[in-house]
């Protein structure tokens, strides 16, 4: 009871009431600074293989010798197939797979996204493990076209050679599926969704036929990306792509196994995020970290493997990069050893981390180390929201006198006499008094803004691709006007009070804080990036208008002369800053920074949203945008009393 009594008195402490903005700023500063200490040795760890069953690189690989002749022939064959029409090519691919001795099937798919047709046919073959019981399977994938749109000649030829070679072994405890999707994004997506779907739902935008042959629960997927023509090209390093849709990551053990095998057993260096020269310095680690955060927060597919990860199928892509001395046989042996390791698994990969940020191919920061960064950012909104809630419950007693009182420095607080029974006490007079909160209007405004957010979300994801940039420009214009208009309407029509503005902002920030905190556990990077971009919203207060409120006293007498001009200038700066931090403007800025075409980016986002279920645009439009608009309404409402 003593504690609660103490707490009850504490909550009226003026220090506590003034603290939140500073606390919130501190959270933001620490959150961002946290990000920069992650590359240090003390906050990251060396990777290690956690699952004992994997035994990476412990087997002798036999892929080589005459298989090289076969590989060259398959590469020539794939090159010839590339000259064929699509139907002939598919038939020829099926024939090759059948000759190898696989059970072959094809799956046509068709998506309509942003007025664009995406269609193709996946060809796949199942190598039934001779002694396997058809309960588990692993996937070897070689997309016909890689993520950049090049034909994956050598990758596909290598996958075919490996399948032929694997067929002779009787050691497989799982079936091996050789999957040849037509492209690297929609093909794998169509295949893996059909593999797991309970019923084939055909909609206007999505027509994925069901798979005629299946083979148990998928354990892992390895995709090969080696788009080198029939004359070969030696590579320097293997770039391991691991980001899944919506920032889901494959188990770290799979990645470690690939790195351990490639670099430990085969002597092939491994890179991530295309960092060809990584000196393991702080700078390089930070760059890798930043690249990882950017790709993860985008949530888009980064390779053919990406579609598998949301289905809890651990998947990576091995992509050859650079000029070096490693040939296709080294990649083949790496893949062989990797499949032998996956084959050893008795259970689904579960031992190691699912949440990590890589700093190098063999260094990572685990969730315990990086999560506080995003959580602190999310917490800063919650702190402000709580402060605003507390403020909204108290109104100043005698506002006019109070204003004067604040200017009198060091003045004694007014006192009043309290008499209870016989006891008489002199206590400081209350400067505030509790007020009933009127919550209907603020809640309605917040709800309305959130509902309105579905307009940009819908239009930017379902319009025809030609209209997407226009839609974004419209969104910018409306977004910038909306707060001012809404604020004027609310003040004129509904006579919204300062208290209601506070409550409205409190609701909005509370929602933003909790959404981001939840999101941080699913997709850290997205939560972090949105948290950083939205962090100014914690400090948005009604602009001072024609009064002395919020005017810096430091300027003293001189300032008082130009009070009005200064105020206008500062308001202008604040409004500009606010406008720059708006979601659509930030989108434009990002396009400019990464020198991307706005239309292309929007199309990718629309495709990701409707085909693969990427929720990044949902977070932008339905979490960040409403918070920004509500902040704007508060900003434009102005601080003048009515």
């Amino acid at each position: 009871m003593a504690l609660s009594a103490r707490l009850l008195t504490l909550r009226n402490s003026p220090v506590l009431l003034k603290l939140p903005p500073y606390l919130s700023a501190l959270c933001i500063v620490i959150g961002i600074a946290w990000f920069f200490i992650l590359p240090l040795n003390e906050y990251s760890r060396q990777t290690y293989v956690s699952e004992n069953a994997i035994l990476p690189g412990q087997v002798h690989t036999y892929f080589g010798g005459s298989e090289h002749n076969v590989f060259r022939a398959y590469r020539q064959e794939v090159y010839q197939l590339s000259q064929f029409s699509e139907t002939d090519r598919l038939a020829a691919l099926e024939k090759v797979l059948r000759e190898i001795g696989l059970k072959v099937a094809a799956q046509p798919y068709h998506f309509t996204v942003a007025g664009e047709e995406v269609k193709g046919t996946n060809v796949y073959g199942v190598l039934q493990g001779p002694r396997a019981d058809a309960t588990e399977a692993m996937v070897l994938m070689a997309a016909w076209r890689n993520f950049e749109g090049e034909i994956n000649y050598s990758g596909l030829a290598l996958a075919l050679t490996l399948a032929r070679y694997f067929k002779r072994w009787s050691i497989w405890s799982k079936d091996i599926i050789l999957l040849i999707p037509a492209d690297s994004t929609y093909g794998p997506e169509a295949w893996v969704s059909a593999y797991h779907s309970t019923s084939p739902d055909i909609t206007a935008t999505r027509n994925v036929s069901s798979l005629p042959i299946k083979a148990g629960a998928l354990q892992a997927t390895v995709a090969l990306d080696y788009p080198v023509g029939p004359w070969g090209h030696r590579f320097d390093k293997l770039d391991i792509l691991y980001d899944g849709i919506n920032g889901a990551l494959p188990n770290l053990d799979l990645l470690n196994t690939a790195v351990a095998i490639a670099s430990g057993q085969m002597g092939i260096g491994c890179t991530i995020h295309g960092m060809l020269s990584h000196s393991d310095s702080y700078r390089d680690r930070l760059t890798t970290l930043a690249k990882g955060v950017v790709t993860q927060s985008a949530g888009q597919a980064t390779g053919p493997h990406s579609a598998f990860v949301p289905y809890h199928v651990d998947a990576i892509t091995l992509k050859t990069v650079g000029d070096g001395w490693h040939d296709e046989m080294s990649l083949g042996r790496t893949t062989e050893s990797l499949f032998r390791s996956i084959n050893n698994l008795l259970e689904h990969l579960h031992q190691s981390f699912f949440f990590y940020i890589l700093l190098n191919a063999n260094r990572f920061a685990s969730i315990g180390n990086y999560l506080p960064a995003a959580m602190l950012l999310a917490g800063s909104f919650t702190v402000t929201a709580l402060a605003l809630w507390v403020q909204s419950g108290q109104v100043a007693v005698g506002p006019a006198t109070k204003m004067e009182g604040t200017e009198k420095n060091g003045a004694q607080p007014e006192l009043e006499v309290v008499k209870i029974g016989d006891a008489v006490a002199l206590v400081p007079a209350a400067t505030t008094k509790p007020a009933e909160r009127e919550m209907l209007l603020p809640a309605a405004v917040v709800l309305a803004v959130h509902l309105a957010s579905f307009l940009p979300l819908y239009s930017l994801n379902s319009l025809h691709r030609q209209h997407l940039p226009t839609a974004l420009q419209t969104t910018i214009a409306t977004s910038l006007l909306l707060p001012a208009l809404a604020s004027t309407a609310l003040t004129r029509r509904s006579q919204i009070s300062t208290q209601q503005i506070q409550i409205m902002q409190s609701f909005s920030l509370l929602l933003l804080g909790t959404s981001l905190a939840t999101l941080a556990t699913l997709n850290f990077s997205l939560a972090f990036v949105v948290g950083v971009l939205a962090s100014p919203l914690s400090f948005v207060r009604p602009l001072p208008r024609g009064t002395t409120t919020g005017f810096p006293a430091v300027l003293g007498r001189v300032g008082r002369e130009y009070r009005y001009a200064l105020q206008v200038a500062m308001n202008l700066i604040a409004t500009l800053l606010y406008a720059v931090a708006s979601p659509p403007v930030v989108l434009y800025a990002l396009c400019w920074y990464f020198s991307q075409d706005v239309g292309g980016l929007l199309l990718e986002m629309a495709k990701g949203w409707s085909v693969q279920g990427v929720y990044t645009s949902f977070v932008i439009w339905a979490v960040w945008w409403p918070a920004w608009v509500v902040g704007g309404i508060a900003l434009c409402r102005g601080g003048g009393e009515r």
């Binding site: 036999y62 019923s199 042959i213």
Partner: protein, 638 residues
Amino acid sequence: MKLAQLLALPATLISAVLAIPEYSEHLHLRPLPNGYLYAGFNFTASTSLSAYESQHFRYFPRSLGQILKHSGTRELHLRFALGRWDDESWGSRPRDGKREGGTGVEIWAWLDSGGGKPAVEERWSSLVNSLSGLFCASLNFIDGTKTTRPVLSFEPEGMHRGGGGGMELLHGTLPHEVVCTENLTPFLKLLPCKGKAGISSLLDGHKVFDANWQTMSIDVRPVCHVGEECRLEIQQTVDIVLDIERSMRPRNDPIPRPRPVEELECDESKSYHASDTCYPRRKEGEMAWSLSKIFGTPVRGSCHVADGDESHDISLEVSRDRAVEVLQGGSNETLVSHGQSQHVRAIRLSDTAKHTDISLPQQIIQEAPHQEQPPLYASRQITGFGQERGGMHTVLHNPHTYPQRIVYLESLPWFLRPYMHTLKVLSHPTTSHNQPATPVKPDKMFYTPALDRERGTHLELLLTIPAQSTVELTYDFDKAILRYTEYPPDANRGFDVAPAIIRVLPPNSNSTAGNEKTQDSYLRTTSLLLPLPTPDFSMPYNVIILTSTVIALGFGSIFNLLVRRFVLAEEVPRSAVAVRVAWVVGKVRGVVGGLKGRMRVGGEGGGGGGTVVGFGGAADVRGGMNGGSGGAEGRKER
């Protein structure tokens, strides 16, 4: 030539001889397409029922006989299986699938039903536990949750006294059991020659378990012939399909290394063919093989132990043109077909020769090997993803021009909870794709719902699969959450779901279609892996849970104190909404009361009553607002 008839061949030969031999053995070999070889071993021993009753065993294994007697088993069927029968390329199953089990171990038996249900369960438990010891298998794990009582799927094979009354069928499966050498050894121990002589000398664990498909079966049943005493017969079979190329690899170097470049067979017609570029060509013709290379040893001696056993030991089903050489104790002779069948060549092992070997050279045969189409193709998969629910999807394809009646049996573990209202059976004709799917109504359905931790689901459907059509059977299920002690050590692997058993019934005798079978046949789907929600059994997880709980408790109470405002109950102003609601309610009451009053002559006070109720409503709202604070202390904030 039908495989079933072939396998019945020794039986017809036996019946020609007056006295039925107490023991006979037989091996059937048949090369399958794509370089595979089917080998079916059959060992049959019997004993008269009177000898069995008096515990007098000669060729019938005593260890098994005593178990059967003790547990009151009338008929026993035990299966150990591994791998898959590839019916697309290998055709119909050997022995009509009757001597075949689902992946893992499967057992079904007819037990004496005397003494009621508990007694039968006692006998069943005693049977599986004893067999578990005898065959080194985890049969003892077949408890109530894994036992079902199928109604339509099985019928007794033997001739039982009293027409099969007084006995009860129980069926259990262990899909996760890995069949291996330790199960083969006790299996061979039951044979009179113990795997030392005769065709059983070929059964070596390394080869049997390197097979693409293998199934071992033990069937015990009473058999009666007219004019003779009934006998108890034990039939042991081992059916395997070997990859000829893989089995022929030398034992000291079994690694399939890439072949030397010179040995590669290349397709030289390719434009890019060069010394370093070789498009592999498919091998033509039949592969060369011999018993000694495939099984690692020739047949040692013979096992003609019983009187009157004059039958052939080995039969080989190959094309007429195929050259077959038999090497028996130094003499080398070409084996030619004889008898009624042109495709079958039979050999009787010599009692004197130490070793017998059969070898076939590589040969290009023009005549395509005859292959019988299986009665039905079946595949079964779990669909869906996530930890909560999933779906079962079975596809049954009837390639024949006549409809077939089947019994579809599923025994599901209790933690898979099917929703029977979602059960859909849809049929699509394979001949035309445009026709919409038509629902198929099961003729009969037997369904025993699961009881958590006590018994599994038993689902049996009697269906008619229309001619040349595909029937899809789907239903949804929920995944149960287990207690943490119920997870096996490899919890993240998932849980095995036993294969579905499909019995294809023989068509009715009045059916007019010609080439139909008169016997029923069985097939089984593959077993499935069901991923269940699995807790993270690691230490950090437990720490996180504990700290989260503590933080939630602490945060909750402190947050409550900070945010809640304490006021006296009387001070709570009436919410605007409540006032308005009360006003509206009062108004409505008043109107209703007024109407009532007008109807009832002289009615009054209706409006007043309404007002009272309205206040009551408002008071309720206020009470709700006070909530937990309840003004217990009656303390005002300031």
